[in-house]
Subunit: 151 residues, 2 copies
DNA sequence: TTCACTGCAAATGCTTTGCAGCGCC
DNA sequence: GGCGCTGCAAAGCATTTGCAGTGAA
């Protein structure tokens, strides 16, 4: 799973960094945002769109794609790819830094902490003179259940 | 730039317990295999197909997909997804495993070894009962030069 | 009123699949 | 010779994009 140790843009407050364009607050954007809040795990755009339809909210698929992309650009959500290569998003929660162990068969995810990796990443980067470091770590395999089935 | 540690087969004691069907040795399969040997890094099917054409070997795109998939199924190559969500393959070579530290500004990359991470990933996965594990680790930040410029 | 945001549908581009002929075993 | 492997072209899918109408500021 990708977890960004946002040691960089992690800023909580709105930094007057840049505001390329005014983001208008539309009901579609709010709906997507709300849905992301409700969901804890990573979801694909298709999933989120389906979810919205189930909820009775009407947001076109194309718009869902556009909104999630722009949110990712703004750093409001984390993006990564699932085993099928689909982009999946999750609300950014800087506080709970952890990585995911995910099953490539059933999609089940397990949250794991990786202090060792955090340290290693920071140390390695520093050793090479890199700054503003972020890292991504994902582990995927077959969960116990799926392992049993495949065997 | 995704780098994965196909630590997959590693310890889990996965035995080549199956040979569902006889794999015939065809010139296409040999060509793909040879191309993979020549390439050190991960390549997408499209890349590999293009490479083969350049080499004057004629293998249809569909066949390239089929061969790479079957090789992946047999565990002969490592598979993962690049940033665009495309499947990328690499000949399994436990020896040359490493990760990348890359500059998000100039794109410069540094290869780094991460035995600590390999171990952690394997251990964590095992602790949760996962098998056939792979992992992806990326560290990105600003290289020394770019750090200076941004400062 | 203005112009970013939406929805719809067509367009992309990667990947898969149906089918008939070919060639490895 | 049988049957898996190929090539070709036609799908299949997730994602993107053009365009005109809509609504937030």
């Amino acid at each position: 799973m990708s977890e960004s140790a946002a040691s960089s843009g992690a800023g909580q407050g709105e930094q007057p960094r840049e505001q390329p364009r005014e983001q208008r607050v539309t009901k579609q954007r709010l709906a997507v945002s709300a849905a992301l809040d409700r969901l804890d795990d990573f979801v694909s755009t298709q999933d989120l769109h389906r979810q919205l339809q189930t909820d009775g909210v009407s947001v076109s698929l194309a718009t869902a794609y556009r909104i999630l992309q722009s949110m990712a650009d703004e750093g409001l959500v984390d993006v990564l790819r699932n085993a099928d290569g689909e982009a999946v998003y999750r609300r950014c929660s800087v506080t709970a830094h952890h990585h995911h162990l995910l099953c490539r068969n059933c999609g089940k995810t397990v949250e794991v902490e990786a202090p060792a990796v955090e340290n290693w990443a920071a140390r390695t980067a520093r050793a090479h003179g890199f700054t503003a470091v972020q890292h991504t770590v994902e582990i995927f395999g077959l969960c116990p259940e799926c392992s049993r089935q495949e065997a």
